[in-house]
Structure formats: structure tokens, C-alpha cells
């Protein structure tokens, strides 16, 4: 099936197998290996990308379902040679070891910082919560890190938060 989409600002017109996920489209067809496949079932967050600005698991989206969308992957976060502040903070705080969860953590964090409203750990539901470490941990719990870099991930995000 023919679809068109923009990935990191570049338009693509592709003929895809209707069974193909957005994740496999990125990795196997478009040569964008940044989004990782950790489970293919929406359970680990390694494949997190932004679809029209919102974080989403690329393994759970069929490629045909994102026809007409704008997708941002980790490859699209830096501006030329200038890293996104979150990317720089991840390096500075050693917020990864193997790096396999990192693209998902970064895309997830980029979107998370722009998400309003309370979470399960917010005390006062009427207010936009302050981004405490507890809020960051709660909001980032869809992204598993088996290397156990969470302590550093939370520090990096807290530092890069506006």
C-alpha cells in the first residue's frame, strides 16, 4: 500500500506491506536505526518516537496507520551539530550504559516535558504539577532500562527541563 509521511522533516512516499509496523518501516526500509526494537509489543518503550508531536510506541503503530503523519525519531532531535539539551544532559550525567533504551528515553522525555496535567503521583490535581523527581520517574516508567541507568536518567531530565 502506498503511504506518505514526513520523518524528521523529510517527506517519504513508500509502498508498504500492510503488516509492517512503523518501527520496521523506519529501521528496515528508511535506514533510520535510531528507534530500537526491544519487545515489539509496546512493553519496553525502546521504540518511542514522536508521531505528530506526541510520544508513541512505533512498534504498536502499523505503517499504514501513520499515512500523512509527521514522525520525529531520535535522529531528528539535534539541530545539525548542536545536540538537543536532553541529549547533552544524558551524556553529561552518564544516563545510559549500553545505549539501547536511550533513543526511546530521549524521545519520551522530549514529549513528556511538554505534557500538561497531573499524573498518578500528583497530589493536587487542580494544578499543573511541578516536575519533581517523583513526577519524572512516574512519567518515564514506560521506558525500561535494563542497564539500570534510571537514577542518572532522572537527574539528566531534571537538569534539561525548562
Amino acid at each position: 500500500m502506498d503511504i506518505t509521511l514526513k520523518v524528521n522533516g523529510t517527506p517519504h512516499a513508500v509502498d508498504v506491506d500492510p503488516r509492517m509496523s512503523l518501527l520496521d518501516l523506519l529501521r528496515e526500509r528508511l535506514g533510520l536505526i535510531g528507534a530500537k526494537k526491544g519487545c515489539d509489543h509496546g512493553q519496553c518503550g525502546a521504540c518511542t518516537v514522536l508521531i505528530d508531536g506526541r510520544r508513541a510506541n512505533a512498534c504498536l503503530a502499523l505503517a499504514v496507520a501513520v499515512d500523512g503523519s509527521e514522525v520525529t525519531t531520535v535522529e531528528g532531535l539535534a539541530k545539525g551539530d548542536d545536540l538537543h539539551p536532553l541529549q547533552a544532559a544524558f551524556i553529561e550525567h552518564d544516563a545510559f550504559q549500553c545505549g539501547y533504551c536511550t533513543p526511546g528515553q530521549l524521545c519520551s522525555a522530549v514529549a513528556m516535558l511538554g505534557e500538561p496535567g497531573p499524573s498518578a503521583v500528583t497530589d493536587d490535581l487542580a494544578l499543573d504539577p511541578e516536575l519533581t523527581p517523583e513526577e519524572i520517574r512516574e512519567r518515564m516508567s514506560g521506558n525500561l532500562c535494563r542497564c539500570g541507568a534510571y537514577v542518572n536518567i532522572v537527574k539528566a531530565i531534571a537538569e534539561a527541563a525548562p
Binding site: K37, H41, Q87, Q97, G99, L144
Partner: protein, 676 residues
């Protein structure tokens, strides 16, 4: 200094095994056995062969050629016998992943099933004493008279602990891309912890000379032991590529990983400890019961830490193994030490309670000045300093020993302590250092699986050369580089680093242009000493009296691991290990399917690993330990000790919080609630 590959990792440019651009690559998808034991009568693949894009189907119906001495877990399609549910019994190769997966689902395998036996239980009649346990320790040891020591003890414990099947679950699923050239040489991009040993195993499996095989693995998405030996996916990729006449990629699914990439054996461990009124041990006995497959004997060294930890006049350790219709267990972070120290350090806590003694002090009075089993002197041992420093930082002296008395609303609060230990070994390696464009290049077939090996070796080489780190470039992850051992057993940095230092010294001594090293002789001449890292872990827990949920607001680890090569990397390694230990304590468990064989909970929605919200505060610090008997860096390995003792510290804290002792990991709400 930050990780040298940090930038490619945060920009998504680092290439993991499945991510190398290879022209005309096809995809393989395995078919797994649905029975736990039996014979394959027939593989019906006619339908699959007719499906779109299918290039080949592999199975025992037309066994591909492999060496006769191939490892039984790697000898794919050579036999009609099924050894465990989930074993790879066929595979489909197709031009796209979607087509390969669909055709694999259409392959029907007809079995003649046998009754299977998959459950580890303490009264299994099949237990036997293996000749040795991993890597080459005696299975059993006896010193002194344990029964007399127990009979004369002022206090004793006789307790049985059990741990479940655990899965490493690195975030990157095992993957490989295999490419044959027209001369019959094989290139494999593989997710492996050791390019040199992986190359050797693949060459042996295919009956090829080593020179005809090359393994490349520049970035590896975690391993924790699961990528420490060659796994069937790599062999399958090469077989499939040979059959299809094209390069073939395989990336295992998370579910398939549970079946064919190894796991930590479940254990049942009986501990008998006795002490005099002053807390001095009079006897220690540690017997471990564990499993292996019918294919390969894998005997985890679970009771060996008792041979190292505490001074005692009477010490008996033993391992008993039973061969079940299961996949072969394999390496998982701190094999042996991790489950063994969980049981030993929990039993020590019980002994402290029985004696009415502080658990830190109990460990201090039993500190050993030579290895309790065998009497070898330690190259260095700073367990007591770790305990003292940890107690000071954690505020231990304010602790009320009484269990089950601190309540904050629904939450019961407690603290616990446990010791850590891990051997400090090294193996021979080679390295080559040379000058290129005014900078220094160091080559060694090491692996960076997230440990920071590249960065650590840059530092080590820069130190040895006396130049700034930004003038040094390390090349690793390729079996064409100088031969190096696996990233495992916490001996990567010690082994590779020794060779790198010697190569750099050689360069400086010679023409200043290049230097080569092979540390085989040097390592072979290491003095006979007991070399181990030690540590102490402290945990605070909150246990809900309503739901039974355990939270861990605070974990502290203090380690004595020789000279720390890079503080930032070390801290990440320690806290990573402790975080995995938290998972072991509270949530990680694979169930064995007794009815059908194989495993249950084969994904990350059911096999829970710690998530960000589970890990509020983990802190790791270390002592400045000088030890000149290790290697040129003076370092001990740190990849594994972080997970050793964590689960015991948390379990001991849960006892302190609730007054109840759960001796069966993980400490799930249902087990805790049933005690209230």
C-alpha cells in the same frame, strides 16, 4: 571524561547487530518446538514454501551441514530429538520480515511426544554430584566437622532458600546478520560479549578455519551474560544465508529470547550455620540444588561464596544437579555469587537474630584473614571497612533491631544489610598500539556491552602512554583485531587493560611508533592468591500492610574493588547491578510450565524488570583500595558485584520491617500478605 561513544548513542547512530546496512538482506524467522520432549515425525513445510517471498525452509528433513562436534545447543536441525519446549526446530527465510514470520507460522511440525520432566524439586531422584562447577571449581568441599560445630553452637539456623528462573533480558534482543563471500568466508554481525570467542565457536560449529570467520559487534545492547557464549541465532543466520544464497538477518523476538538465549538456573539452597555466644561461626554448610538440560551440563557455582566469605573451623559446600527437559541454563550477572550470596547473607541475618546480635557486627567478628576454604591469603580484603563505612553513611547505629515495630500509616518500615563479593580474575589477551596521524590507536577485540569498555581502555592507554585521553582512540568489537577474552566474569577490563598497558609500554620502549603485547605468560605467572572484591549493601524498605507491596526508598552500596579506573563508569555499573538486584528481590521470576514444558511469562509485561518509578534512590561509593597483586591498573572487576547481596539486603529489611521471613524470591505482595 564522558563516554567516548556517548554522542553516537544519543543521536541514534550507533550500530547494533541488526542495524548494519547490508545489500539484499533476507530475513529468517525460527519455528520453535511445541513439545518438551519427543521426536519430530515430520516437518510439513509445503504450504510455507509456496508463500510469497519465501526463499528457503530449514529443518531436520534436510539437515544442513554442520561440524559433528558442534555444541548440542548450536547443532540446529541435526537431530529429530526435541530436548525442550521452545527449541528451534525449523526456520523460514524470506525477502521481508513480514513474509518470513507469516511463513514460519504456516510450518507444521508433527511430533511423537514423550512424557517430560521439567520441575526442579528438592526430592528429585535424579540429583547427582557434577565433577566440577563453573568455571572449574570442585563441586564439593569439606573442612572440619560441621556436625560437631553445629552441636556445640550457642545458636544455629537450618534454613532453605529458593530462587526462581531468572532471565537476563538485555534490552537489545539477540540479533545477527550473516554474509558469506564467494570464497566461502563468513562475516557475522552479532550481538555478542566477545568477538574472538564467538568467532571461534562459529568456526567450530561450521567446521571452518578460524581465519575464514569474522565477527563484528561494535555496539551491544546489554548482555549480562546472555550474550557471553554463542547463541543459536548466530548459527541460524549463517545457515539461512548459506541456504538462501543471500545475506540473512535474524532478530529474535523478546519471547524467543526466553527460550534460546539462556537463563539463571532456579536454585534450592539449604544453609546450616552455627555460632558461639560471641557470634563466632562454629560451622557453615551450604548445599545448592539446581538444574541443567539433557543436552549440556551447566553447573552453576552457587555455594562457592561460602568458601570465601567467613572464617569458620568447619565448612562444607556442595552442589547437586538434575538434568531436566529444559533449555540449558547459562550465565547471568554474577552466576553463582548472586543466588548463593542471597541465601548465605539471608541466613547470616537469621543467625544474627537468633544470637540477638547486630548483623553488621556478626559479619565483622567473622571476617577471615585467609580464604576459609584452602587457606590462600587474600591479595586484599576490605569487607569490614565497607561494612563500617556503609553503616556510618546509612545511619545504621540509630537502628532499633526489633522487627515489625516501625509503622507509618499503612507502611511498615525496616532496614537490612548484606555483604557482597566477586572474584577478581584476568585472562590472557593481546593488544596492538600504534601511531596514526599523530594520535594513538589501540586495538583489542574487546566488547563494550554498556560497561564503558571503550572509555575505560582510552583512560588506561592514555595513562600508560602519558598523553591526554583525547589523543587515544580505541578500536574494539571485531574478531580481526588482536584476540581478547569475553566481557564476562568481571574480567574484561582487567584482561584487556593488562594487554593494552603492555602494548603501550612496548610502544614507548621501542621506536615510539608501535607496540604489541600478549599477556599469556604474564597472566600464567600470577602468584597464587585469593583475589576478590568485597562490598556491603544497605537497604531501607517500606512494606504496605494493606497490599503487601514492598518499596525500596533507599539502597546504598559500599565497595572495595581495587583502584577504580573511571569513577563515572564505575558508579553506573554499581548502581546498574544494584538496580537489577532490586528486580531480583521484588519482581523477577520466570515460571516453568509444568504441564507443557518451557517457560511462562515470556515477555516484559509479565517478566517484570524494575521501571523508573521502582528506583528512587540508589547510591554507590567505594573505598580507595590499593592492591599490587592484580594487574597493571590495580583494578578489580565491577560489572557483577553490584547485584551480589542486594536481594539479601532487601529481604533482610523486609524481615526487619514486618517480622516475617520470606525465603523464596521474589518477595511478591501475595507472599508477604499471606504472612500477616
Amino acid at each position: 571524561m564522558n563516554r567516548v561513544e556517548g554522542r553516537v548513542k544519543v543521536t541514534g547512530l550507533a550500530t547494533y547487530a541488526a542495524e548494519y546496512p547490508v545489500e539484499a538482506v533476507a530475513y529468517a524467522y525460527p519455528v520453535q518446538s511445541l513439545v518438551a520432549k519427543g521426536r519430530i515425525v515430520r516437518v510439513h513445510d509445503a504450504e510455507a514454501r509456496e508463500m510469497p517471498g519465501v526463499l528457503a525452509v530449514l529443518s531436520c528433513e534436510d539437515p544442513p551441514r554442520l561440524a559433528e562436534d558442534a555444541d548440542a545447543e548450536l547443532a540446529l536441525f541435526q537431530s529429530r530429538d526435541v530436548a525442550y519446549r521452545g527449541q528451534i526446530v525449523a526456520a523460514v527465510v524470506a525477502g521481508t520480515y513480514e513474509n518470513a514470520r507469516a511463513a514460519a507460522a504456516a510450518v507444521r511440525v508433527e511430533y511423537d511426544p514423550d512424557d517430560h520432566d521439567v520441575a526442579l524439586r528438592s526430592d528429585h531422584p535424579g540429583f547427582y554430584r557434577p565433577d566440577v562447577v563453573n568455571p572449574d571449581y570442585p563441586s564439593d568441599t569439606v573442612k572440619g566437622d560441621v556436625e560437631a560445630g553445629l552441636a556445640g553452637a550457642a545458636a544455629s539456623v537450618d534454613v532453605t532458600y529458593s530462587t526462581p528462573v531468572l532471565h537476563n533480558n538485555p534490552m537489545e534482543p539477540h540479533a545477527a546478520v550473516a554474509v558469506w563471500d564467494p570464497e566461502g568466508r563468513l562475516l557475522v554481525y552479532d550481538s555478542t560479549q566477545g568477538a574472538s570467542p564467538d568467532r571461534d565457536t562459529i568456526a567450530q560449529t561450521f567446521g571452518l578455519p578460524r581465519e575464514d570467520v569474522r565477527v563484528v559487534s561494535r555496539h551491544v545492547g546489554g548482555g549480562f551474560g546472555a550474550k557471553g557464549s554463542t547463541r543459536p541465532h548466530a548459527v541460524l543466520a549463517a545457515l539461512a544465508a548459506r541456504a538462501a544464497g543471500r545475506p540473512v538477518k535474524i532478530a529474535l523476538t523478546r519471547q524467543q529470547m526466553f527460550d534460546v538465549t539462556g537463563y539463571r538456573t532456579p536454585t534450592i539452597q539449604r544453609l546450616r550455620l552455627g555460632a558461639d555466644a560471641g557470634g563466632r561461626l562454629t560451622a557453615v554448610e551450604h548445599v545448592a540444588y539446581e538444574q541443567s538440560s539433557t543436552l549440556v551440563e551447566f553447573a552453576e557455582q552457587t555455594a562457592t561464596p561460602a568458601r570465601v566469605m567467613y572464617a569458620t573451623p568447619a565448612l562444607r559446600t556442595a552442589h547437586r544437579l538434575v538434568r531436566l527437559d529444559v533449555a540449558t541454563p547459562s550465565w547471568m550477572r554474577a552466576p553463582g555469587e548472586c543466588p548463593g550470596m542471597y541465601a548465605l547473607e539471608s541466613a547470616m541475618d537469621e543467625l544474627a537474630c537468633a544470637l540477638g546480635m547486630d548483623p553488621v557486627e556478626l559479619r565483622v567478628v567473622n571476617d577471615a584473614d585467609a580464604e576459609p576454604e584452602g587457606g590462600l591469603p587474600f591479595s586484599s580484603r576490605n569487607l569490614v571497612m565497607c561494612l563500617r563505612e556503609g553503616a556510618r553513611r546509612f545511619g545504621w547505629r540509630h537502628r532499633d533491631p526489633e522487627p515489625g515495630v516501625r509503622r507509618e500509616g499503612e507502611w511498615l518500615v525496616g532496614t537490612g544489610v548484606a555483604a557482597s563479593t566477586y572474584p577478581a580474575r584476568r585472562r590472557p589477551a593481546r593488544a596492538f598500539a600504534f601511531v596514526r596521524d599523530g594520535d594513538y590507536v589501540v586495538q583489542v577485540a574487546a566488547a563494550d556491552i554498556g560497561t564503558g569498555a571503550r572509555t575505560a581502555l582510552v583512560r588506561i592507554a592514555a595513562d600508560a602512554l602519558g598523553v591526554p585521553p583525547d589523543q587515544v582512540h580505541v578500536e574494539l568489537g571485531d574478531s580481526d583485531l588482536p584476540e581478547a577474552p569475553v566481557a564476562g566474569g568481571s574480567m574484561g577490563t582487567a584482561s584487556w587493560g593488562s594487554a593494552v598497558v603492555r602494548a603501550c609500554e612496548e610502544l614507548k620502549r621501542g621506536d615510539g611508533k608501535e607496540g604489541r603485547a600478549d599477556t599469556t605468560d604474564e597472566v600464567g605467572n600470577d602468584a597464587r592468591l585469593a583475589r576478590h572484591a568485597f562490598g556491603a549493601q544497605f537497604a531501607e524498605v517500606r512494606v504496605s500492610s494493606v497490599t503487601g507491596e514492598v518499596r525500596v526508598p533507599r539502597l546504598l552500596g559500599v565497595f572495595a574493588a581495587g583502584r577504580i579506573v573511571d569513577p563515572q563508569l564505575a558508579r553506573s555499573q554499581f548502581i546498574g547491578g544494584m538496580t537489577m538486584g532490586l528486580g531480583m528481590a521484588l519482581m523477577e521470576e520466570t515460571l516453568t510450565d509444568e504441564e507443557f514444558g518451557g517457560f511462562l511469562r515470556r515477555d516484559l509485561a509479565q517478566y517484570h524488570v524494575p521501571a523508573c518509578a521502582d528506583v528512587p534512590h540508589v547510591e554507590a561509593v567505594w573505598l580507595d583500595e590499593q592492591d599490587g597483586e592484580l594487574n597493571p591498573m590495580g583494578s578489580k572487576g565491577i560489572g557483577e558485584i553490584g547485584i551480589v547481596g542486594t536481594a539479601a539486603a532487601i529481604g533482610n529489611a523486609v524481615h526487619h520491617a514486618t517480622g516475617h521471613r520470606v525465603r523464596d524470591l521474589p518477595l511478591t505482595p501475595v507472599k508477604i500478605l499471606s504472612r500477616f
